[in-house]
């Protein structure tokens, strides 16, 4: 049977995406079978029609025959399609049950659809990791996605895996698969969800089990850092590093090592001791106090950093010696 399936796949495979999950062939076999049947049926019917049109064209045929019905022919073309159609349905639903079966050891990932992105939640040892856009999964491992949506209905679709399921607000739906090939595969949202519906795409990145473990351990540790100094240093790297060095050397602005607790003099204000208040003001309203010898170049970060972020930054700056 597999052999026949493979032959059909070679002929019609061009119209289907790559087979990258264990259940792809379940869909493709039936797809190819129905396609073959359809082509045969269609060509047969059209050939008969064309033949009749040519043979019995008005210029060729003087008189029409009188054939109001034919019990045998009608029985045949009622019974045979019924058998074929119901056969296809039964094949389809058995294949579906096979696809729906979730192995008990399946690895669970939570998926949330939101206008207009996919969020993936991994859990390990009581810690959580939220990612968007790219879903990492290990190859050859049964995966089950536990899905919901926060706003409107979306639908999670990975063509190469032949899986699709709506994500419904207030409801949990599940879909499962085992990726069989490493690589990147497209995720589409297939339930219309508004303005950027067509941008609600993502990627499944299938990697080796070892790489997945490594990735997950690293990311989940990263995501669960609670040390304010560590968080502050990350914020600093992202927001401040272009203009401020972490030693005493000058970049565009002054180097910040050892600044906290020292007296600062300004070109447009009285001296103050660099305390928390002062650093906060420097971040939110830089032109208020401009350090002597530096141009007024810094933009305000008001609205770009949260109160928490600023606390973390201050904690970090305190540690710079």
């Amino acid at each position: 049977m597999r052999f026949i399936g493979d032959i059909l796949q070679t002929i019609f495979g061009f119209s289907l995406p790559e087979q990258a999950s264990e259940k792809a062939y379940l869909v493709d076999d039936l797809y190819n079978f129905v396609l073959l049947l359809s082509i045969v049926g269609f060509i047969g019917l059209m050939a008969a029609m064309t033949f009749f049109i040519i043979k019995y064209h008005r210029s060729q045929n003087e008189k029409a025959a009188y054939i109001p019905h034919n019990a045998l022919a009608e029985t045949i073309w009622t019974v045979i399609p019924t058998i074929i159609f119901v056969g296809i349905a039964i094949w389809g639903l058995f294949a579906y049950f096979k696809m729906e079966h979730v192995p008990s050891n399946a690895y669970k990932i939570n998926v949330t659809g939101k206008q207009w992105l996919w969020e993936f939640t991994y859990k390990k040892d009581g810690l959580e990791l939220n990612t968007t856009d790219i879903m990492y999964v290990p190859v050859n491992t049964p995966i089950v996605l536990d899905m919901t949506a926060t706003d409107v209905i979306h639908s999670f679709y990975v063509p190469s895996f032949r899986i699709k399921k709506d994500t419904v607000p207030g409801m949990r739906t599940r879909v499962n698969f085992t990726a069989t090939k490493k690589g990147d595969y497209r995720i589409f949202c297939t339930e219309f969800c508004g303005t950027s519906h067509s941008r609600m795409r993502g990627t499944v990145r299938v990697v080796s089990k070892a790489r997945f473990e490594k990735w997950l351990n690293r990311e989940i540790a990263e995501a669960n850092v609670s040390d304010p100094v560590e968080l502050g240093s990350r914020l600093f790297a992202r927001n401040c590093m272009t203009c401020h060095n972490v030693d005493t050397t000058t970049k565009i602005g002054p180097g910040l090592a050892g600044v906290f607790g020292k007296n600062r003099s300004f070109s447009n204000a009285a001296d103050v001791v660099a305390n928390e208040e002062y650093i906060r003001e420097s971040i939110l309203a830089p032109p208020a106090k401009i350090v002597k010898g530096f141009p007024n170049k810094m933009n305000s970060f008001a609205g770009l950093l949260s109160e928490k972020d600023i606390d973390h930054l201050i904690e970090y700056i305190k540690t710079l010696k």
């Binding site: 119209s15 289907l16 995406p17 379940l26 869909v27 797809y31 129905v34 396609l35 359809s38 049926g41 269609f42 019917l45 008969a48 009749f52 049109i53 019995y56 064209h57 008005r58 003087e62 008189k63 029409a64 025959a65 009188y66 054939i67 109001p68 019905h69 034919n70 009608e74 073309w77 159609f85 119901v86 296809i88 349905a89 389809g92 639903l93 294949a95 579906y96 706003d151 409107v152 209905i153 639908s155 679709y157 063509p159 699709k164 419904v168 607000p169 409801m171 739906t173 497209r186 589409f188 949202c189 297939t190 339930e191 219309f192 508004g194 303005t195 519906h197 067509s198 941008r199 795409r201």
Partner: protein, 532 residues
């Protein structure tokens, strides 16, 4: 031919004059002509949106539309084509014109209701189209909740418009059922009715039973939106999927409202242009009823991936397959009718053959979608888009145009330009396939529907599809142009039955029917299509 002397009032077109006489007419033939004009106008508007959408899809990134504009254009295309063109198209236009005459009646049972139904369609259509000036609607023609519960204000307008148009459809349905039951000419038994009448009868049953459910669904949506009650809102305990069940309980039978009458037309046209009795009259008549009965039991196949249970999915899958059986029977019977006939490929026949070929593809691709697991892959992709355009545009509308060209001589008393008519039929066929075959392929490859921007791998298919859309649009515009021009300037008929057809509207009326159709009701003695 009934030997009646020329009626002193002239025919139905010129017996009264002036715009007012048209707007207040209760003559089913005049109402049909009013539908003709309005539905063609809607068709051109809906088509314009389609052309714009296809143009935008030439490139994977936006060309001239924003995402919101695209979604609005897409919703307008769908709503106009479904609610204003295809649903009323065949029954309200061709059915209104032909049904009473085919039965040998002077008019439909409730002529005033018939006129009211036209006004309802106009009112609903006006409200729905005017919503464009209140920001438009971006939900798609399916109005899925909870999205439609929150999105643009104009949703309420379009939904109310669709509700009113639903009433129009119900009124037409009630009228046709009663007309068929009570107003048949002497001797016109049910089993002597032309197949077009049978198909309208089956359609009317669906219209009457299914449309009220759409009505209540849309009312609940309006209730939800104006009062914020939360019946479909999961945040307030409601079930958004319930809306889908309600919606498809109407909207799946509704696709048969669209296709069954077109099948009726094809039966008429193929028998007439083969000059041979229809093969399997009873099978064709009863398969229409069978389709309308089964159509109520298959709505769940729109929700195979919505999270409904695997058991109900399986049941819906098998039932859906069963709809294929009466459909297949019809296809075989039509081809068998051509066997040993005297086939002539005039424009109506060409459109009927378009129907036959395209609808067969539409039906066969339905098998993919009815198969439970294959649908998981194909659901909400371009495969579905192509499938329903093959059934609705390739099926219902090709049948509709077959009917328009077929009854055109009787409506107008003129003959259209045959050569041009054939060109339009061939153009639509070629353009149609160029437009939608690529959509099958990209759908199978995973291109989701309702996408304004898309992955670059699909570009070649989209380009081919867009080029095809220009050809198919030109074909339909040519067809409409021919019909409009020749209504006034066509060559006047000398014979009231140019096709040598057998049904009463051709055999027992004047070249152009008089206001009362018949001066004396005909007596029917046998089945139609008796070419011996």
């Amino acid at each position: 031919m009934s030997a009646t002397d020329a009626h002193s009032h002239g025919n139905y077109i010129n017996c009264e004059k002036g715009l007012w006489s048209w707007l207040t007419t209760i003559d089913h033939k005049r109402i049909a002509l009013m539908y003709f004009i309005s539905i063609m106008a809607f068709f051109l508007v809906g088509g314009l949106f389609a052309i714009l959408l296809r143009l935008e899809l030439l490139s994977p990134e936006p060309i001239f539309m924003t995402g919101d504009f695209y979604n609005r254009a897409m919703t307008m295309h769908g709503s106009i084509m479904v609610f204003m063109v295809i649903v009323p198209g065949v029954p309200a236009l061709l059915g209104n014109f032909a049904l009473p005459i085919m039965l040998g009646a002077h008019d439909v049972a409730f002529p005033k209701l018939n006129l009211a139904s036209w006004y309802m369609l106009m009112l609903g259509a006006a409200i729905a189209v005017l919503s464009l000036f209140w920001g438009g609607v971006d939900t798609g023609w399916t109005f899925y909740t909870p999205y439609s519960g929150k999105s643009a204000d104009a949703v309420t307008m379009v939904v109310l418009g669709a509700f009113i148009m639903g009433f129009s459809s119900i009124m037409t349905g009630v009228n046709f059922i009663v007309t068929v039951h009570k107003l048949r000419a002497p001797g016109m038994t049910m089993m002597r009715m032309p197949l077009f009448v049978w198909s309208l009868y089956a359609t009317a049953i669906i219209q009457v039973i299914a449309t009220p459910v759409l009505g209540i669904t849309l009312l609940l949506l309006v209730f939800e939106r104006t009062f914020g009650v939360g019946i479909f809102n999961p945040a307030l305990g409601g079930d958004p999927v319930l809306f889908q069940h309600f919606f498809w309980f109407y909207s799946h039978p509704a696709v048969y409202i669209m296709i069954i009458p077109a099948m009726g037309i094809v039966s008429e046209v193929i028998a007439t242009f083969s000059q041979k009795t229809i093969f399997g009259y009873k099978a064709i008549a009863f398969s229409s009823l069978a389709i309308s009965a089964i159509s109520f039991l298959v709505w769940g196949h729109h929700m195979f991936v919505s999270g409904q249970s695997a058991l109900s999915g399986s049941i819906f899958s098998v039932l859906t397959m069963l709809v294929g059986v009466p459909t297949a029977i019809k296809l075989f019977n039509w081809v068998a009718t051509m066997y040993k006939g005297r086939v002539k490929l005039d424009t109506p026949m060409l459109f009927a053959i378009n129907f036959l070929a395209l609808f067969t593809i539409g039906g066969l691709t339905g098998l993919f979608l009815a198969a439970f697991n294959v649908d998981v892959h194909l659901h909400d992709t371009y495969f579905v888009v192509a499938h329903f355009h093959y059934t609705m545009l390739g099926g219902a509308l090709m049948g509709f145009f077959a009917g328009l060209f077929y009854w055109f001589p009787k409506m107008s008393g003129k003959m259209y330009n045959e050569v041009q008519g054939r060109i339009s039929a061939i153009m639509t066929f070629v353009g149609f396939n160029l437009t939608f075959i690529p959509q099958f392929i990209m759908g199978s490859q995973g291109m989701p529907r309702r996408y304004h921007t898309y992955d670059g791998i699909f570009t070649p298919y989209h380009v081919a599809s867009t080029i095809g859309s220009w050809i198919v649009a030109s074909g339909f515009i040519l067809a409409i142009y021919i019909l409009a021009r020749d209504f006034f300037k066509g060559e006047p008929l000398k014979d009231g039955n140019p096709w040598n057809a057998t049904t009463l509207e051709w055999t027992n009326t004047e070249i152009v029917p008089i206001h009362e159709n018949f001066t004396e009701l005909p007596t029917v003695t046998g089945r139609p299509y008796e070419y011996r």
